[in-house]
């Protein structure tokens, strides 16, 4: 049986001398990434937790001021490395908002497809990790199988499996090849069965429910007060989803639902993620069947995206655009303005606040990382639970330390 949350007696500071202080991390298999927790234990019960982060801080925001808008996409890959495609899309959407351009429909559809594939991959890893930490190893293997298919699709799309850097300002690196589209179709056909298997394995598993139900409860009011977004907020009953509320790219064309739960515990978060994968699959299916023809990059006259090779060699506009974009003292024409643009990344609201100063380098590019906001919740969620619940709560928040520390 899950233990009841202890609300009766929490020792005060001066009375804490008999408490155990336990160091959890920074290198521990159950943290999955590099982060450190300092736990105060009374027996096996966690009285308080202090989070120590910054082990993976690599100055991404400082680097953004020294790399141009296309170069920085390689850094966004390394933020949430479980779903790099979603970061690529978020970054270039923000840049395009600053520049005031809209990408062609085919590009929008392809970006939606890759962002949703990234969401499925992210949710698979997150749920698999929760399963693994609570003892369900087979589930982990079942989840990593379809994830491999997603990585094959990414490889067919852009040549890289992990650090994709697929988007460019005003378009994409390459158009989707027929091979990639075929792989996506096959994935759409095969994934529901894998998802059914996964649900049968874990959703009604007695041990898993005991380990996760009623653990780490977040109420709706607290979720709003602490700025929580994404699946963690939706598991607490917040209905906010930017794909519906503020449809960016081509999301308004698709029929899908927002998945919410009321309980706000680890189990609800697991269920929300499982349900969201089905909805993502619906979006991918609609997008791949209605994929519009046409170019993936904005027109040459916009002077944003690199022209095709034949345009460079046989048209004067193509040659001039190529020259303007490649020469180091030229580049993008950016207004002296500031813009905030957010997308619904697998983890929550991933936003970029970009300040342009007229040069091809961002004056400041702030990333609003969902993991950072969610990890601040952790001490609040774990108080009163046992030591073995630490891994369940940590896994269900889906903390990616590279995004947490940037």
């Amino acid at each position: 049986m899950p233990l009841e949350k202890s609300t009766t007696y929490i020792p005060k500071d001066e009375a804490q001398e008999y408490l155990w202080t336990m160091n959890f991390g920074p290198q521990h298999p159950a943290t999955h990434t590099t982060l450190r927790l300092i736990l105060k234990l009374e027996g096996e019960r966690v009285v308080d937790a202090d989070c120590d982060i910054g082990y993976l801080h690599s100055g991404f925001e400082k680097l953004a001021e020294h790399l141009n808008y296309n170069q920085y996409v390689t850094i966004t890959d390394r933020m949430n490395y479980v779903s790099p495609m979603a970061n690529n899309v978020a970054w270039h959407l923000a840049v395009e908002k600053l520049l005031g351009i809209e990408v062609p429909p085919r590009c929008q559809y392809l970006r939606v497809i890759v962002a949703e594939l990234a969401r499925i991959a992210d949710h698979l890893v997150c749920n698999a990790a929760v399963g693994l930490d609570t003892g369900a190893f087979t589930f982990f293997m079942y989840a990593f199988n379809p994830r491999e298919m997603i990585y094959d699709i990414f490889e067919a799309l852009c040549g890289a499996r992990f650090t994709n850097s697929y988007t460019r300002v005003g378009g994409l690196m390459y158009d989707a090849s027929p091979k990639a589209i075929e792989l996506i179709r096959e994935f759409v056909k095969r994934f529901p069965r894998a998802l059914d298997d996964m649900e049968r394995l874990l959703t009604r598993n007695r041990i898993f429910i005991d380990r996760t139900k009623g653990i780490g409860v977040l109420t709706k009011e607290e979720a709003i007060n602490r700025g929580v977004t994404g699946p963690v907020a939706r598991a607490s009953g917040v209905t906010r989803d930017l794909r519906k509320d503020e449809p960016y790219l081509a999301y308004k064309d698709f029929d899908f639902q927002i998945c919410c739960a009321q309980a706000g515990d680890c189990y609800a978060r697991y269920l929300v993620r499982m349900a969201e994968m089905r909805e993502s699959l619906k979006i991918i299916q609609q997008a791949i069947e209605n994929l519009p023809p046409g170019p993936v990059n904005v027109a040459v006259s916009e002077r944003i995206a690199l022209p095709e090779k034949w345009q460079v060699t046989s048209t004067i506009e193509g040659l001039i655009t190529h020259f303007e974009l490649i020469m180091s003292n030229r580049g993008f024409e950016v207004p002296c303005e500031e813009v905030y643009c957010a997308t619904e990344s697998p983890n929550g609201e991933l936003g970029f606040y970009i300040v342009g100063d007229g040069s091809p380098y961002a004056y400041r590019a702030r990333c609003r990382p969902p993991s950072f906001v969610h990890f601040a919740l952790f001490p609040h969620l774990i108080r009163g639970h046992t030591l073995s619940d630490v891994v369940a709560v940590l896994g269900s928040l889906n903390i990616i330390a590279a995004e947490l520390d940037r």
Binding site: I53, K62, R226, V238, Y340, E349, D357
Partner: protein, 165 residues
Amino acid sequence: MASPETLQKLKERFPEAEISEFRGQHRAVVPAGIVHDVLKFLKEDVGLALIIDITCVDYLYYPNAKDRFGVVYIVGHPETAERMIIKTFVNDPQPTLPTVTDLWEGANWLEREVWDMFGIRFEGHPDLRRILLPEDFQDHPLRKDYPLQGRGERHNIPVVTRDLG
């Protein structure tokens, strides 16, 4: 984007707020003295109850900038897509702002990060420690006068040699 009612209410309550729009986003520049009141008003009376982000921009080398630091608060509505950017300016030598942790618990770490990266002190913050950088770090690295390569912090880390002989 903010709804017209929100902007109307904000204008009536705080006439000193300068509201502008860019690419469909509304931004209000307010004096540092009333930023807490503005955010409290937006949270409690208008319903923008979700703190999305707190960040800062160092305008040291920015063309035509008058003030050094611009602190940006992004607040949103928990149910709709309504969003508003509140911006205020602070200056050297002791850039200080009132904390908003009394309004939002979630502002705690966001303010700590701004302190860590820019050195802006938040008065009344319950736990204003460095968050990403080590405690003994001296500078605030996202300031524009801090070089990309650092000031030798990485090179001066003491190396522990192990005597294997």
